[in-house]
């Protein structure tokens, strides 16, 4: 199996098979990152598509100095923020049904986590997503968000405190 870096090199040479492989590895993750930021399924879908198109177009400029995941999530974030800017914030209606309802009645704890995450400002929510779901280091997150490492740690600190308050 090819590494991410090898795939990007092939995508840079316009290899559509390699692009499909890269898409399969990242499109869904990028979509979920978009959902985390935008809280709207249609906008997140649009952001994911635009991000993957940008990955195709800019693969030739990827120099391999960062991990492919960091590069892809950076592009995805820019696309999501572009959409936020395009849409008037007040006009966006957040999807309340972002997750598939589970018929089990014992999901109270999970509902609380969902509610607690939704209560966080997006700047903290994305740090929580990139840390706990994507497993990125604070240095990588700092690179994606373009903020100092100390700010990443501080956002995580505040996010955890708010989550603990809601979940307690």
């Amino acid at each position: 199996m090819l590494s991410d870096q090898q795939l990007v090199r092939r995508v840079a040479a316009e290899d559509e098979d390699a692009f499909r492989d890269l898409y399969d590895r990242y499109a869904d993750r990028v979509f979920r990152y978009g959902l985390t930021l935008l809280r709207n399924r249609h906008l997140a879908e649009e952001a994911a598509q635009e991000a993957m198109i940008a990955v195709w177009k800019s693969a030739r400029r990827f120099e391999g100095r960062s991990k492919v995941s960091t590069w892809v999530f950076g592009i995805a974030r820019n696309k999501a923020l572009d959409l936020i800017r395009r849409e008037k914030r007040g006009d966006r209606v957040p999807d309340v049904s972002l997750v598939t309802p589970d018929p089990a009645p014992t999901l109270r704890k999970q509902e609380l986590v969902q509610h607690a995450l939704g209560e966080l400002p997006e700047s903290q929510r994305e740090v929580v997503f990139l840390t706990f779901y994507e497993g990125l280091s604070y240095g990588e997150i700092s690179g994606i968000l373009g903020i100092p490492e100390g700010t990443v740690k501080s956002r995580m600190f505040h996010a955890k405190r708010r989550l603990a308050e809601v979940l307690s």
Binding site: D15, T100, V113, T131, L163
Partner: protein
């Protein structure tokens, strides 16, 4: 106590295994002697599980998205000449897509497409 402040700053990334080896060793050593930070780690691990579970329940990107993406990157063909067969052949073509008009040449060898060149003329040039 100042140690605890620093350790608690790092503990989320300790829980995901994404700290440097030196930082990870430092946190492990501190945890051995600090019950408060061990409790903080346990709470962080619970939160990690909750977030992972929450994100996994989110919908998946529909397959139709791939069709739109690939249509956008390929563009609309405006001319194409094929010679040879599926196993060995050549293609010369041009497409229109957002941002440019690429002219490309491909070789097919044993069913695999190899791009020989791609020259893109920007719209408006």
């Amino acid at each position: 106590m100042s140690d605890c402040v620093r350790i608690r700053e790092l503990i989320a990334w300790y829980a995901t295994g994404s700290l440097s080896r030196a930082e990870s060793t430092e946190v492990t050593a501190h945890l051995a002697s600090c019950e408060g930070c061990r409790e903080e780690l346990a709470a962080t691990l619970q939160l990690k599980v909750g977030v992972e579970s929450e994100v996994r329940r989110m919908p998946r990107l529909p397959e139709s998205a791939w069709k739109r993406v690939v249509a956008s990157v390929r563009g609309r063909p405006i001319a194409q000449i094929d010679v040879g067969s599926f196993l060995l052949g050549f293609t010369l073509g041009a497409r229109v897509r957002r941002g440019g008009v690429p002219v490309y040449g491909d070789m097919r060898l044993l069913g695999r497409k190899i791009r020989l060149f791609n020259v893109e003329k920007e719209e408006g040039e």
